[in-house]
C-alpha cells in the first residue's frame, strides 16, 4: 500500500534525522547550527569601545587637563557647568566626600572606583546630545580635565593608557563585590 510505504519512508527519514542529531532537544550542541561569521579583532577595533581597568581597549593617544579645559568648555559646560559643579544632581562630577556627615555627594572624584570608567563612559556616551563625537585624543584630554577638577591629577600631567590605569581613585577601595551571591 502506498500509505504504508509513505509511513515507512517517513520513519526512515525520522530515524536518519535522529541519528544526525537534528531532532535532539533544544540546547544540545549537536543540534545547533553554527552561523557566526569569523571576524578579526582588528576589524572590530572601531566598534569595540570597551576601555577596561587593565588598559585593554584603550586607544593610542594622550592629553592633559590644560588641553581638556577647552574641550570641556565646548562640549560639556552646558550640563556639567563651571568646574564640574553641574546643573542638577546627576550632572555634578566634581567634589563630594564619602565620609561627610550628611548623605554624601557622589561624583567622579568621591565615588567612582576606577579611572578607566571615565574614559570608557565619555567615549561611548558623551556628550549626551552627540555621543561619540569626540576624538580619542579629546577624550583623553577631557578625562584629564575631569580628574584635575577632582584634584586627582595635575594640570599638565599627561594622561594616556598607562598613566590613566595607574591612577588609584579616592574611593577605589570603597566597593564590595556581591557577584558571588547568586
Amino acid at each position: 500500500m502506498s500509505t504504508y510505504r509513505t509511513a515507512t519512508a517517513t520513519g526512515r527519514i525520522l530515524a536518519l534525522l535522529l541519528l544526525m542529531g537534528w531532532m535532539a532537544p533544544a540546547g544540545s550542541q549537536e543540534a545547533q547550527i553554527r552561523l557566526g561569521t569569523p571576524i578579526s579583532e582588528e576589524q572590530l577595533s572601531a566598534l569595540d569601545l570597551i576601555a577596561a581597568p587593565d588598559g585593554s581597549g584603550m586607544p593610542p593617544g594622550a592629553g592633559t587637563a590644560r588641553q581638556g579645559r577647552e574641550v570641556y568648555e565646548l562640549n560639556c559646560l552646558r550640563c556639567h557647568n563651571v568646574n564640574g559643579e553641574g546643573v542638577s544632581g546627576n550632572t555634578v562630577i566634581a567634589g563630594g566626600d564619602m565620609q561627610s556627615e550628611e548623605s554624601p555627594l557622589r561624583t567622579v572624584g568621591s565615588y567612582w572606583p576606577h579611572a578607566s570608567t571615565l574614559f570608557d563612559f565619555i567615549r561611548r556616551a558623551m556628550p549626551a546630545d552627540i555621543p561619540k563625537s569626540l576624538t580619542d585624543e579629546e577624550v583623553y584630554q577631557v578625562t584629564a580635565y575631569v580628574l584635575f577638577l577632582n584634584g586627582i591629577v595635575g594640570e599638565d600631567q599627561s594622561i594616556n593608557s598607562e598613566t590613566l590605569t595607574a591612577i588609584v581613585m579616592p574611593n577605589g577601595n570603597g566597593f564590595v563585590d556581591q557577584s558571588h551571591l547568586h
Binding site: 540546547g27 564619602m98 561611548r124 556616551a125 549626551a128 570603597g174
Partner: protein, 423 residues
C-alpha cells in the same frame, strides 16, 4: 435568608476563601447594594443592542475595547540634559494575571530608543574566545530557540519608599518598573560555545547599540546557565523600547543587566567596570562602603488592588490581589495582613508559581469601614522572606535606593481612601 457567618482568618476582615466560595454569589452580592445593570428588580432582562446587528470586521492589529479603560504607561517628563533618558512604568493596578502586555511593559532607557534596521544590525562576540564571530539578525533567527516566562524589574523600582517623605503614589508610580513576559531566544551558552570561550574568561561584557552604548558585565557562570539572547516577547518580535531586534535577558536579575539592542559580547578576565555598574546601580551602605554587582532581585510582593490613590466606595467584601516574585526561585507563599502586620492570612495563588516569574495572589477581605493597613509578604522557594521597611532601612540606610524589596503598606482611612503609608 440564613445569616452569613464569615470565617475570619486574620484581623480586620481577612476572610477564609473556602468559606467565601461556599457563599457563592449570595455572599458577594450582599456587598454591592443597588440595582443590577441599571434595571429595576423583577424586570425582564432584554437582549442587548449589539446582539441585534453585525459588529466590526476583523482587524489587522488588535487594540483594547474603548470601554476597557485607557491603560497607559506613566512616562517621566523629558529632560533636555538627559536626551532620551528616563523610564515609563506599567499600570500594575489595572492589570490581572501575570503577563504584561508588550505595549505596557515598563521601559528604562539611558539615551533613548534607537531606530534599528535589523538588516544592518550586528551581534559580535569577541575578546577571550577562540574565534571572534559576528552574527546577522537573519542568521540568529535560524537558531533553535527556547521560551521562558520571567519577570523583569528595574533595580531602582520602589526606591522612593526608602527615601521616605511624601511618597503618595499609585502601584504604578511607586512600583511600576516591574513587568513579566514570555521571552524567546537563543541560549547565550550556544553562541558562546560557537565562538569558543577560553578558560581564562570569567566575565562577559554586554553592550547595546543605543546612543549610550550602555554596557554591563555578566559573570560567566550565569552566562552559561540561563541567559537568553532574546528575539521575541510574548510571541512577537521584541518592541523597540525593549531592545529590538535583540536583547540580552538575564532571568531574575536587576533589569539593567538585560542589555537591550545587544550588539557586543566581549569575554574578559575581569568586569569592564562600566559607568552603569560603578557610579550607578550600586548601593552605598551606612558605613559608606558600596555594594557592587548586586544581581538577583530580592523576594518581593505588592498588593495591586486595592492600592494607592484608589478609593473603596462602601464597606463590604473586596478581593485583595497582587503580584509576588523572586530573583532566587519561585514564590512559595504570600501572606496578607489588613492590620499593619499584626496578624496574617495565607492568600490563594491564582496560578501555579513559576521560577523567576510573577505569581498572582488573591484573598477576600471585608472592609468594616474603619481604618486598615493592607500588606503582603512573600516567601520564595529558597526560603527567603520579604522584609519590612524598617528592616531594610536598618540594614541599608537611606543613601542608596536600588534593590528595595520591602513590604508595601497601603493605608485605608475611614472614608475608604487608600494611600502609601509607613508603619
Amino acid at each position: 435568608m440564613k445569616e452569613l457567618q464569615w470565617e475570619k482568618v486574620a484581623g480586620n476582615g481577612l476572610l477564609n476563601r473556602r468559606h467565601l466560595l461556599q457563599l457563592g454569589l449570595t455572599g458577594l452580592g450582599a456587598a454591592g447594594a443597588g440595582a443590577v445593570f441599571g434595571q429595576d428588580a423583577g424586570s425582564v432582562l432584554q437582549v442587548p443592542e449589539w446582539s441585534r446587528m453585525p459588529g466590526a470586521s476583523a482587524s489587522a492589529y488588535g487594540e483594547p475595547s474603548r470601554f476597557a479603560g485607557n491603560f497607559q504607561r506613566m512616562a517621566g517628563t523629558p529632560d533636555p540634559i538627559y536626551p532620551g533618558g528616563g523610564s515609563s512604568r506599567s499600570p500594575l493596578q489595572f492589570l490581572q494575571g501575570t503577563i504584561t502586555p508588550n505595549a505596557l511593559h515598563f521601559e528604562r532607557h539611558h539615551a533613548g530608543i534607537p531606530d534599528i534596521d535589523p538588516a544592518e544590525h550586528m551581534l559580535v562576540i569577541n575578546g577571550l574566545v577562540r574565534q571572534p564571530l559576528v552574527f546577522s539578525y537573519e542568521n540568529l533567527l535560524k537558531y533553535q530557540m527556547v521560551s521562558r516566562i520571567n519577570f523583569l524589574e528595574c533595580s531602582g523600582n520602589s526606591g522612593a519608599l526608602l527615601r521616605g517623605g511624601n511618597a503618595d503614589g499609585t502601584a504604578q508610580s511607586l512600583h511600576g518598573l516591574l513587568s513579566c513576559a514570555e521571552w524567546t531566544g537563543i541560549p547565550l551558552s550556544v553562541l558562546l560555545d560557537e565562538a569558543g570561550v577560553l578558560p581564562e574568561a570569567r566575565w562577559v561584557a554586554a553592550v547595546g547599540a543605543d546612543a549610550a552604548s550602555m554596557g554591563r558585565s555578566v559573570p560567566i557562570d550565569k552566562a552559561l546557565d540561563d541567559i537568553l539572547v532574546a528575539l521575541y516577547q510574548n510571541g512577537e518580535p521584541i518592541q523597540p523600547g525593549q531592545g529590538y531586534p535583540v536583547r540580552l535577558f538575564c532571568p531574575g536579575w536587576e533589569g539593567n543587566i538585560s542589555v537591550k539592542w545587544l550588539t557586543q559580547l566581549k569575554l574578559m578576565r575581569e568586569p569592564a567596570q562600566f559607568r552603569d555598574e560603578t557610579s550607578k546601580y550600586t548601593d552605598t551602605m551606612p558605613d559608606r562602603s558600596s555594594l557592587q554587582f548586586t544581581f538577583p532581585m530580592g523576594v518581593k510582593s505588592l498588593i495591586t488592588s486595592p492600592s494607592g490613590q484608589m478609593s473603596l466606595p462602601r464597606p463590604g467584601i473586596y478581593q485583595v490581589t497582587g503580584v509576588a516574585w523572586s530573583g532566587r526561585g519561585a514564590i512559595r507563599r504570600v501572606e496578607v495582613s489588613a492590620d499593619g502586620g499584626a496578624t496574617w492570612a495565607d492568600a490563594m495563588m491564582q496560578s501555579e508559581p513559576m521560577d523567576k516569574a510573577l505569581a498572582r495572589f488573591t484573598i477576600p477581605w471585608e472592609w468594616s469601614g474603619g481604618p486598615a493597613v493592607l500588606q503582603s509578604r512573600a516567601t520564595d522557594s529558597a526560603g527567603n522572606v520579604q522584609p519590612i521597611r524598617d528592616e531594610v532601612l536598618a540594614a541599608r540606610g537611606t543613601i542608596s535606593f536600588y534593590h528595595n524589596n520591602c513590604i508595601q503598606s497601603w493605608g485605608v482611612d475611614d472614608a475608604g481612601a487608600i494611600s502609601n503609608v509607613y508603619v
